[in-house]
Amino acid sequence: MDVLYFAWVRERIGIPRERVETGAETVAQLVEELRAREPRYEAAFADLSALRVALDQDLADFDASLAGVREVAFFPPMTGG
């Protein structure tokens, strides 16, 4: 699946998007896989309460299933307007 990062999440991880092959069944499992990779991922995902997630461009929860999902995005709370 494609994993996208925005704002300071993108800056901490250092890339805007990447292709991830994963067996994770939920967002939370995917986060744990990413965190275990490298310190820059750990830095981005250290505090999940400061993060939001979207699955195929709809806001979702961290316990949501990844079944059939093609695009996951992680970002801080939004500041539009």
Binding site: A7, A73, F75, M78, T79, G80, G81
Partner: protein
């Protein structure tokens, strides 16, 4: 309904005039414009707005559709810019048309409340001293509970 996400400036007067002239059955037009505000120190050089192409349009369309379902409205317009803006630049506008003003005012406030914390935009303030992401405010999240 018209939802526009663009880098370029928009012409507030032309947009408001065209929107107001579109339907003579509407007795009330409300417009709101968001402007880049300078910092208290007066040293903001650039406000950089990042967004999530695709999801942004989807989220704005959903919010506008919900407003149309909730109030008796004619047309709804949302324009939101991204990229590098300067203090005083217009970031975004919403316009609502309704037969009566209460619907137009309430729908415009609803659009703004949801747009602030449910549309995927992120603001970064850049000054001579450095750059920092604007943090979301608890009161913006709390504002959604009134709807």
């Amino acid at each position: 309904m018209r939802v526009v996400v663009q880098q370029e400036p928009f012409d507030l007067g032309a947009e408001a005039n065209a929107f107001a002239a579109a339907d003579t059955g509407m007795g009330a037009i409300v417009t709101f414009t968001g402007v880049v505000r300078d910092l208290a120190r007066g040293d903001l050089d650039v406000m950089e707005i990042e967004h999530y192409p695709g999801m942004t349009e989807k989220a704005l369309t959903k919010i506008a559709t919900e407003a149309q379902e909730r109030w008796s409205l004619g047309d709804v317009l949302v324009i939101h810019r991204y990229g590098r803006l300067a203090p005083g630049d217009r970031i975004m506008m919403v316009a609502t048309a309704a037969p009566h003003r209460k619907d137009a005012f309430e729908a415009a406030e609803y659009l703004m409340d949801y747009l602030k914390s449910r549309a995927p935009f992120w603001k970064k303030e850049i000054t001579g001293a450095g750059a920092g992401w604007v943090a979301a405010k608890d009161e913006d999240e709390d504002a959604l509970t009134r709807w």
